[in-house]
Amino acid sequence: MSESRETLPAHRAWMTVVQKVGTPLISVILAIGIGSVIMWASGYDPVAAFAALFKGSFGGPKQIGDTLLRATPLILTGLAVAYGFRAGLFNIGAEGQLFMGGLAAAWLGVALTGLPWIVMVPLLVVAAMLAGAAWAFVPAILKARIGAHEVITTMMFTYIGRYIVSWLVVGPLKAPGQIPQTDAVSIESQLPRIQALFSEATLEALPFLKLGRTHLGIVVAVIAALVVWFILKYTTLGYENRAVGFNPWASETGGISVQWTTVKALCISGALAGLAGAVEVMGVHHRIFDQFSSGFGFTGIAVALLAKNHPLGVIPAAILFGALSAGAGTMQLEAHVPQKIILIIQALVIFLVAAEEIVTWFIKRRQKEALSHVG
């Protein structure tokens, strides 16, 4: 047990950083590689396909805007899932919480009139977060009190949430007309597009600001990521969240209530998912309808996985998924590769990240064994 025995070489610290960022990166590159082989085998030109994909997602301000537009809800649902994971909880039901958040925003945005923008936007955001948290609260209580597994309960609550929205948009909240959707929220309840914030002259001078449909929600999402990062790193709430996620028994001994931490973690996770719903309603659709989310809650799981549950890692991970979906159309149009190939690449990324988790888990276990064998 001499000094040298416990010494970690300096490069080890660097290695962990490289490992953290490097391995998801390798997964993505591998996924693109395997995707290319699949395209080539199916008779398509992978180089042309990825060129088109890139053009469609990062080719210009409008394309970048499209990518960011799609990344916005994914940042928030990714954060939601990641925060739960950091407490050892798998909130698979972010989709349902997102629907409830969207519903709260859509309903209040129509029901409340006469209030200024500065009141309406924060009000809707808070209401949506509360709605999302409320939707996670019942599974949280069930988990804390009787140990009901959150994977089952949050999933079940997703169905309930989705069908409540389905019913409301054909029933009580249906707007006049043929389409099953709510009325549009008031203009004061909407998140404006980024390019709408600047004058024509500014936009001419700084063309990179012409981000198309990208709205202020992206700013909200990035702020949310920073807040979650701060909570996890610098608050007792985050410390306890992580402690419980790693070792609930030691946490309990340290005076942390595991049950209460579980409830808080799932509710915060739900609040972030609810915020994603609000941002979609307030920034994109301005109303809620059955299909207003294309599975953002579920893609959020993949985003969190790729980000290794790091709140700041969620941003690039969400942008990647946003880019894949934004560029798919161009890819089909210009390289004649069916859009569905994109789904294969997304699946490959998820698969490889998950596989990588398994591989590192084994490596870690071997390292741990090796260390304990120095005994």
């Binding site: 007792t236 410390y239 030691a250 005994g375």
Partner: protein, 520 residues
């Protein structure tokens, strides 16, 4: 002719030379004790022999023939068996099923259980390893499970048996039985390597002693040629005080008062049945007992991890009967838990984070929910120095420390909090003599500074050397109280195993102890 010979074995882990040109040999019918501190490289060496790790240099010879052992399978085929510290048994399966696992008799994939059972019984009788071949592993005591592991190695044809810290998990009684078994094994012509860091075991069981330190063999001796002090010096590399000197201490005001406490165990049965005692400032009160007699539940009730069903707990006169773990910490109770890896540390946290667990909400570490990393690291650095935690920095994850240093982290945190009452459960379990000496000193320091210490230990030597008063717990009741110096190991052992009589007066002492252990 030696059955096993290691020549110049070297094994390097990143940043650590675990084995540095280690050579040793093992004769037929011989028990060699491999002695060394935690982290001296004993287990690494044996894992190389067993094919779990590959050496970076050197040779292994079996029956004087050089061999390359790349997997446990090959080791087994060469007649080398190993019983690990953590058993590798399939809990829901029976003893027979576990023993034949991997080498099931029968054909076309159909296991011939009758033959298997017969073979197991034959081995069991031949080596005096009594065990029920049809019992399920999960129903067996730890000592019995170990027998199954040994039988498994014998079934696989082991001629060399490596036992990795076999007594770490055993009661003193079970350990004595194990020594008998080991003797009968060598009488049958087997050879045994016995890895340990316990001096008295080495003296009583081995034929030859090989001492390792820092990855090297530093000496070889025989029990007849040395004594505990000499061995300890060889092992640690300096003089070690085997029993600490107890300084003077005034017994002051009552700190903890336990009144007629009843606590239920995990399975709903009453584990603590009406216990009353007190602990005063400036004294160490030891709770001696065979594991599984209600100590765990009693401690958990005191530190707020378990709700008592009735009775009263008072800390300096304040009712803490129903206090939560958090309230209990804030009231001044510190707790060194029995199981440090599970209860004591968040292994994935770094040392700084671990060193404030429990205090993390309080100033100066946090104010209004915001943590202050600089205050945390300042305290961490101070505790790392004060408690001699061997680590390059607080950045290191707790999982990367050796067992002894992990325990020091827990001790540093719990004592560093400056508590009114320190509840220390098996604070030296799995530690080497150097670390034990350190922890004992710290406990006595608490006592001398007027703190109350409740010590729970299975090691009678520890109880006898530290305690001012000894309470013997059996079947959830305190059956005797002794003042320091009033009792010796035999007396304590007698009452610990039900000798003094309780509600189960008719049943035999040691049998009873084993049964209780099995119920854990």
């Amino acid at each position: 002719m030696s059955v096993l010979e290691l020549s110049e074995i070297t094994k390097v882990f990143p940043g650590v030379v675990a084995n540095d040109r280690v050579s040793l040999s093992l004769e037929r019918g011989e028990i060699v004790a491999l002695l060394g501190e935690n982290g001296a490289g004993k287990s690494t060496l044996m894992n190389v022999v067993y094919g779990l790790l590959s050496a970076d240099g050197g040779h292994v010879l079996v029956d004087d023939k050089p061999v390359k052992i790349k997997s446990p399978r090959q080791a087994i085929d060469l007649g080398i068996g190993m019983v690990h510290q953590h058993f590798m048994l399939v809990e829901p399966l029976t003893v027979t099923e576990n023993i034949v696992l991997g080498r099931e008799p029968g054909r076309f994939g159909v296991i011939d259980f009758a033959t298997a059972r017969e073979k197991v019984q034959e081995l069991s009788v031949r080596y005096g390893l009594k065990v029920d071949p049809d019992a399920r592993i999960m129903d067996l005591s730890v000592g019995m499970q170990q027998r199954v592991e040994i039988l498994k190695a014998l079934y696989q044809g082991a001629r060399v048996l490596i036992l990795d810290e076999p007594t770490a998990v055993l009661t003193p009684q079970e350990a004595k039985e194990l020594f008998g078994v080991v003797r009968s094994l060598v009488d049958e012509g087997l050879s045994v390597v016995f890895i340990t860091h316990k001096l008295e075991e080495v003296m009583s069981v081995s034929d030859r002693i090989i001492v390792m330190r820092d990855g090297r063999v530093v000496g070889e001796t025989k029990p007849s040629e040395t004594d505990g002090v000499g061995l300890a010096r060889m092992m640690v590399g300096r003089d070690v005080v085997l029993s600490v000197e107890k300084g003077h201490s005034e017994r002051v005001a009552e700190i903890l008062e336990v009144m007629d406490l009843h606590v239920k165990g995990d399975r709903g049965l009453e584990a603590v049945c009406g216990v009353s005692f007190n602990v005063c400032g400036g004294e160490v009160v030891a709770l001696a007992g065979v594991s599984g007699n209600g100590q765990t539940e009693l401690i958990e009730a005191i530190v707020g991890l378990r709700r008592p069903t009735s009775g009263m707990l008072r800390l300096k006169g304040v009712d803490i009967t129903h206090a939560s773990a958090r309230a209990s910490i804030e009231a001044g109770v510190s707790h060194i838990p029995e199981d440090r890896r599970r209860r004591g540390l968040v292994l994935e946290f770094d040392l700084a984070e671990n060193l404030v667990l429990g205090d993390h909400r309080l100033a100066p570490y946090a104010t209004r929910g915001i943590m202050h990393p600089s205050a945390i690291t300042t305290t961490a650095e101070k505790r790392i120095t004060d408690y001699d935690i061997r680590t390059p920095s607080w950045h290191v994850l707790a999982s990367n420390l050796s067992g002894g240093n992990q325990q020091k982290v827990v001790v540093a945190r719990e004592m560093g909090r400056n508590p009114e009452l320190l509840v220390a459960a098996q604070p030296t379990r799995g530690l080497d003599v150097g670390a034990i000496e350190f922890v004992h000193r710290q406990i006595l320091k608490e006592r001398e500074s007027g703190k109350a210490v409740l010590l729970v230990s299975l090691e009678l030597e520890e109880v006898l050397s530290l305690a001012d008063r000894i309470l013997v717990i059996y079947e959830g009741r305190i059956v005797r109280e002794f003042a320091a110096g009033e009792a010796d190991e035999e007396t304590l052992g007698y009452f610990m195993t039900g000798g003094g009589g309780t509600k189960l007066e008719d049943e035999g002492g040691t049998e009873q102890a084993e049964m209780t252990e099995g119920n854990l």
